[in-house]
């Protein structure tokens, strides 16, 4: 398979389900960057429409350093865990179906939308909406962080810190080991910041399963509730502060009548209320820097096809310029002391740096 077509999918699904399948809609997700995502509506005889999602690597390379199989395995392990995720159907690498060498997997599409209507409207009428969405996101992060990752089999999939003092060190080692595998141009700032990261590593409040990229654009909402969490390719085991550092948009300040009613501090307070675990904002500030390193390394990997001339996508060009530049600035603010861990962390924005 090279092209995803209705005919291909009908043949594939008919074999899997052993009954006729009609593809009614097939659409490639426009905003996706890290991998190809296809939305598929199908109908089996006498049945209602079923919505599926197909994921596969971009032609030539994936931006992410984690494999597509890893992504599938995360979904697979989260089935029945209490974390809202889509049901995964099949991993496919049979050459009969992946003639171009790109495996894929299918999962069910959960009814909902990635954006939240009016969330970005700065009209004060939507301030309470922003607070409620932020609180909903905190509740879902608490579920992820509270799940028994050993029992779910994540210990077989991911490196786990020996204790709470080792969370950052494991993340640093993982990131720099990844870089060593594929680095193709110099990154002296990444080299410089490593020492700062090791010197300033915080002790985690607990060792948790982490989602990685999260927040606006990564979750599926229906009626103000997160019904599915997606984009797990940066999942890891470590300090929950890391997920707060990566959260996009949902912990931005909301000010009503001159008083801040929501922001990262309030989100951490609410998290302590629902999870019983207190995360220090200085840890979030620390992981904002480490996240910048991890994302830069991921984007460096994604930019390799540009250097090799194999897949000169403008998306890769953009990520390898603006996003890496932004990460570098944050790293230098840390190593030069312009940014202190005691500073109030700035919540991550969707535009600023996103690797998936």
């Amino acid at each position: 398979m090279g092209q995803i077509t209705p005919e291909f999918l009908e043949a594939y699904l008919a074999e899997k389900w052993r009954e006729g399948v009609k593809v009614e809609k097939l659409e490639r997700f426009a905003r996706g960057i890290s991998r190809e995502t296809w939305f598929i509506d199908i109908r089996r005889a006498g049945s209602a429409v079923e919505s599926l999602i197909l994921r596969r690597d971009l032609d030539g390379n994936s931006i992410g350093t984690a494999t597509l199989r890893f992504e599938y395995e995360v979904y697979h392990r989260l089935q029945g865990s209490g974390v809202p995720v889509a049901e995964v159907l099949w991993w496919e690498e049979d050459p009969r179906w992946v003639a171009d060498g790109r495996p894929f997997y299918l999962r069910r599409q959960v009814d909902g939308r990635w954006d939240v209507p009016n969330y970005g409207d700065r009209d004060p009428a939507y301030d309470n909406l922003r607070v409620e969405i932020g609180r909903e996101h905190v509740r879902k992060l608490a579920i992820i962080h509270g799940c028994d990752w050993r029992a779910l089999g994540f210990g077989d999939l991911l490196p786990a810190p020996a204790d709470e003092s080792q969370c950052a060190a494991v993340a640093i080692e993982r990131a720099y080991d990844d870089l060593a595998r594929f680095q193709f141009s110099p990154l002296p700032i990444i080299a410089e910041v490593r020492e700062w990261l090791l010197d300033n590593a915080p002790r985690a409040s607990r060792i948790s399963l982490l989602k990685g990229t999260n927040g606006l654009g990564e979750e599926v909402f229906r009626d103000g509730v997160i019904v599915a969490m997606s984009d797990w390719e940066q999942a890891s085991i470590g300090d929950p502060a890391s997920d707060f550092a990566r959260a996009q948009e949902f912990f931005q300040d909301v000010v009503i009548d001159g008083r801040r009613v929501w922001g990262l501090d309030e989100a951490l307070d609410y998290y302590a209320e629902v999870s019983g675990v207190r995360i220090d904002s200085s840890s979030v500030q620390y992981y904002r820097v480490l996240t910048g390193v991890e994302n830069t390394i991921t984007l460096h990997h994604g930019a390799k096809p540009l250097a090799e001339g194999s897949s000169p996508s403008v998306r890769l060009s953009w990520l390898a310029t603006e996003a890496i530049y932004g990460g570098h600035r944050r790293m230098m603010d840390a190593v030069t002391g312009r940014m202190q861990l005691t500073d109030r962390p700035r919540s991550a924005s969707l535009v600023e740096l996103k690797a998936s």
């Binding site: 997700f29 426009a30 960057i33 110099p186 002296p188 080299a191 998306r315 953009w318 603006e322 230098m332």
Partner: protein
């Protein structure tokens, strides 16, 4: 020669933003057109500013690498790594006009050298970290890296505006 390169790029950007983008159907094509708009502005600024900036950067980095080499020659352990800490006295290539590709290639070589030097200097911090010369060198490296980002800002800050995708 008119239009010059920058005028040509301006005309491409203007036409793309005002004539093409509004006519693009919703979906992946529109999303990509936003990315292209930003990258065209970025390319235009790089065309204008990158060559001179990189040449300036290379000059500063070459001087820094020479100071690192000088420090390394005074340290028994680092001194052995001649390749890593050898002087880097002269610009690469012929004198006279030097194109962007050549300046970029030189920057790549110099920055690899810097990355390796940083890694080695970090590795000896426990032993050398209290030496004023070592600490000064590390500060100079950080100052250079800051300058590098300041130079890059010349084609980043004004380029990326509006939706990216």
């Amino acid at each position: 020669m008119r239009p010059d390169l920058l005028e040509v790029l301006d005309s491409i950007s203007w036409t793309f933003d005002t004539q093409i983008v509004p006519a693009v159907p919703p979906g992946i094509a529109t999303s990509l057109s936003f990315t292209i708009s930003n990258m065209l502005r970025h390319a235009r600024l790089r065309a204008e500013r990158e060559g001179e900036s990189l040449a300036e950067d290379n000059q500063e980095l070459r001087a820094l690498l020479n100071r690192i080499a000088s420090y390394a020659r005074g340290d028994a352990e680092l001194k052995a790594e001649e390749e890593l800490f050898a002087d880097y006295p002269a610009p690469m290539g012929p004198a006279g006009y030097r194109g962007l590709a050549q300046v970029t290639e030189e920057a790549t070589v110099l920055r690899w050298r810097l990355q390796h030097a940083i890694e080695r200097l970090q590795a000896v911090r426990d032993r050398c970290g209290t030496q004023p010369a070592y600490r000064r060198l590390r500060e100079e490296i950080r100052a250079y890296l800051d300058h590098q980002l300041e130079r890059e800002a010349r084609w980043m800050d004004d380029a990326f505006t509006g939706p990216r995708r």
